[in-house]
């Protein structure tokens, strides 16, 4: 079994007075795609935000390559090798594709290998090379998602954390993106993916966690989970 790159230990977090996560633990292993599934409101996005540092965890720990990064400010996490592709992409829509990618490489870590990375990214996403001067806000949904992932990759990450890949995208686009992710995974990138579509998540992950009511409801290898009624129970309560 591959080594653990990211580990979350008994994480508790919430917004204001409302607690959303009630003690969540999971691991993401090197070179694997780990999926997190669960109903809306279960805490998937909150988990990613707590890991990235967008919100402060209340209790528990986040360990990255065995280092405690729980309270590390977000921009320093990026320096360490985290890249977050947020839900809804959150691109700089009035900037060009190239500028968005440039902003992905803001850290010192990324600056080192900038030129080479940009070339590699354009190889992975030829469509983006064609449209590099186009304003990000004018691209299609699928192309925007490509920019979001590409921007994440520009920071030379050890772990790519993606919040909702398939949301609002046509199937053929999703397939293209997933094929690219598979390639990156084979090159050693660790991916943590939050995904709405359970079937999709199970089809491409190496390991999956099911969140319900702010906790891990069940976990396991995709083929094992697909057979059990647990997932349906997590989503529908029965």
């Amino acid at each position: 079994m591959a080594e653990t790159v990211l580990e979350i230990e008994s994480l508790e977090a919430g917004y204001g007075e409302v607690q959303v996560l009630w003690g969540l633990s999971l691991k993401a292993r090197r070179g694997e795609l780990t999926a997190i599934v669960g109903a809306n409101g279960a805490g998937k996005t909150t988990t990613l935000r707590a890991v990235a540092g967008t919100i402060d965890p209340w209790r528990g720990r986040v360990l990255f390559e065995n280092e405690d990064v729980t309270r590390l400010p977000t921009h320093l996490k990026t320096e360490r090798g985290f890249a977050l592709v947020p839900e809804g992409r959150q691109l700089f829509s009035s900037m060009s594709v190239a500028e968005n990618l440039e902003l992905g490489a803001f850290t010192k870590r990324a600056a080192r290998s900038y030129a080479g990375r940009l070339e590699r990214i354009f190889t992975l996403f030829p469509r983006l090379k064609e449209r590099q001067r186009q304003l990000a806000g004018t691209l299609s949904g699928g192309e925007q998602q490509m920019v979001a992932i590409a921007r994440g990759l520009m920071s030379d990450p050890d772990i790519l954390i993606i919040d909702e890949l398939s949301l609002g995208l046509a199937p053929v686009v999703v397939y293209q993106l997933l094929a690219t992710l598979k390639q990156l995974k084979e090159q050693g990138l660790t991916i943590l993916l939050v995904e709405q579509n359970v079937h999709l998540a199970l089809a491409l992950s190496d390991y999956a966690y099911v969140i319900a009511e702010g906790r891990i409801f069940t976990e396991g290898l995709p083929k094992d989970l697909a057979a059990k009624p647990e997932i349906r129970k997590a989503y529908l309560g029965l």
Binding site: E17, V174, N197, H199, L204, R232, L238
Partner: protein, 252 residues
Amino acid sequence: MSAAPLLELDRVSKRFGGLQAVNNLSFTINEGEILGLIGPNGAGKSTLFNLINGVFAPNTGKITFDGVDITGEKPFIVARHGLARTHQIVQPLTNMTVFENCTVGACFGKDNKPLQRARGAAEAAIALTGLDDRRDMLALHLTIAGKKRLELARALAAEPKLLLLDEVLAGLNPTEVEHMIGVIRKIRESGVTILIIEHLMQAIMSLSDRIVVLNYGEKLAEGLPAEVASDTAVIEAYLGDPKLAAELEGHA
């Protein structure tokens, strides 16, 4: 069999600019039952509550409550007919005490009670929801669980015939959830009909007599909890389209 339904929605639709939030929705609630409303995020559940209690008026369709057409009536008039609701994001009257909050609810509800009688109803509601020990505490000093209970007590103090509960369990720890479920059951036993939106699936499935599933503002399914949970269309709405994964395997 029972008389006419307590609440009836007939082909109700609501559009916000380009977004069709609720589309041609019809269902009924019978007196004394607990109806659960579920559906993936953005399905239109909160909008539906807002349409029923008059915050928005529907574009088309009719809403009948206890035989009276309440379509598009202002919230305070709907309250007078005997309908009360709680909010997903609690709305306490912050600088008033728990007791004062409940008195307001009691004064302006169904019977338009005078101050004295309203106080009695407020006390009863506080007792039912277990807020006795915090009766004279300012609403802003309550914990989130307390505020949720206050939201419930205040709605109850109006002695409504129909209670709309909007995610009343969200943000509560397991013990508090247990307690609230008990309170909701007691409320039903006291003769109040309940329409409940909840994301805590196990809770809503065990509380509800019947379930209506909403997706993209339309009714996807309706029936007993067990029926709805094994309905393929419902499962697909929550778990996603299996065809997408199949296509992927095909290409792999």
